[in-house]
């Protein structure tokens, strides 16, 4: 399990407008590219980490835009919501309609939720 890396993906995509569009339009290609090229970049120094990789379940959830699975894998709720609003809110006519659908699709969950600790 690599919750940290899932969170790092959500975080680094969310803060780059071009990557938000790229992930929206080509989720599997973006996940593969990011894992190969970006996953092991330490964010503020010009050195690389050598060991970070997604599990198959994480790769599949990210590649499928499957926010329910990502929630269940323990992705950080704030990062998950923020990026998915950026990608999909625009497809809904009513304000907050995407956010409410997001909630409804998690409706089978009650506390305690999956652990987001990294």
């Amino acid at each position: 399990m690599s919750k940290y890396l899932v969170d790092k993906f959500l975080y680094t995509i969310d803060r780059d407008p071009e990557l938000v569009e790229r992930y929206r339009n080509d989720p599997r290609g973006t996940v593969d590219w990011w894992e190969a090229e970006r996953a092991n970049l330490i964010l503020n120094i010009p050195e690389r980490t050598t060991w970070l990789a997604f599990t198959e379940a994480e790769r599949e959830a990210l590649g499928g835009h499957d926010y329910v699975a990502l929630f269940e894998l323990g992705a950080h709720n704030f990062l998950l919501l923020t990026l998915f609003i950026a990608m999909f809110e625009r497809d809904y006519a009513e304000p907050l309609a995407f956010q409410r659908e997001f909630a409804a699709r998690l409706g089978h969950w009650s506390v305690p939720y999956p652990d987001i600790s990294t």
Partner: protein, 286 residues
């Protein structure tokens, strides 16, 4: 010695700017009442005539990241750029800039560390909506220097609620002992029950109105005994998965002083979360 002109605790709602400036059919039905409450709350700071603002908030995974996460951090810089691309995108928040009071930052860092808080610091900090929301609501002219104090209410493992209270008490004591003739307002924002990225998000009220009712009373009375008896790092997951922001209210209860009732208290039941506004005047109500 410095004067504590006001102690202010508030929720921060990034949608306020957009709601309050929307017109015509884009203007939400609750906007007028919200604006009236914010303008009344703003007056509680204005009349305190502050010279400098100590601002307690939390980075929302903007500059601070999981590869290097401080629990408590104080900014020490002459200037703070503010707000981020994703806040512009989601909330319509503008890019802002705030002057810093480096002397007070240095003093709080030195004094806080010597008091037993191993505070992190930043000399180049871009603050986010946890700082700019209260600027927009309480001091929209953004003309006063600030000292940002960041807490980790976001990424486990977090400090215990008691530690937030103790830091608030330490900040209060340090500011009171600051050899300066300035009037300091200490402003902190947090959350009541809040759910983000979970099944209870964006409902007609906050996810746990019963928690909110109790929390508002704890804050208004600075009832630290009750709050500390009922609130733990584990229990805060129950009212909503982003409710650890309540610990910033607990910090501010520490600043206000145990069992000191707020001179001003107001709240507003909005969709998604309850808003709450509190002001104390340590010098006495003016």
């Amino acid at each position: 010695m410095a004067t504590i002109a006001a102690v202010i605790a508030s929720t921060h709602h990034p949608f306020y700017l957009r709601a309050s400036t929307a017109a015509g059919e884009d203007r939400p039905p609750f906007a007028d009442e919200w604006v009236a409450k914010i303008e009344a709350f703003r007056e509680t700071l204005t009349r305190a005539r502050p010279d400098v603002l100590v601002m307690v908030g939390s980075d929302h995974f903007h500059q601070l990241w999981l590869d290097n996460m401080p629990q408590f951090l104080i900014g020490k810089a002459p200037f703070y750029d503010a707000n981020y691309y994703n806040e512009e995108r989601e909330f319509g928040l503008p890019r802002m800039g705030l002057r810093g009071d480096e002397e007070l930052s240095a003093y709080l860092l030195r004094g806080g560390i010597d008091a037993g808080f191993d505070l992190a610091f930043s000399n180049e900090l871009r603050v986010d909506h946890s700082i700019t929301c209260p600027i927009i609501t309480l001091r929209p002219q953004a003309d006063l220097p600030i000292v940002p104090v960041y807490t980790n209410i976001f990424a486990p493992p977090m400090p215990q609620p008691k530690r937030f209270v103790e830091l608030g008490q330490a900040i209060r004591a340090l500011v009171e002992a600051w050899p300066s003739d300035k009037r300091v307002a200490i402003i902190g924002t947090g959350h009541l029950s809040l759910e983000l990225g979970g099944p209870r998000q964006f409902g007609p009220h906050g996810p746990d109105p019963e928690f909110d009712r109790k929390a508002v009373e704890w804050i208004a009375a600075a009832d630290l005994k009750s709050a500390l008896a009922e609130v733990s790092l584990d229990s805060l997951w129950l009212p909503g998965n982003a409710t650890h922001g309540f610990m910033d209210f607990m910090l501010m209860m520490g600043v206000a002083g145990e069992n000191v009732r707020a001179d001003y208290a107001d709240s507003l039941d909005l969709f998604h979360t309850m808003e709450a506004y509190f002001t104390w005047y340590p010098e006495g109500s003016s």
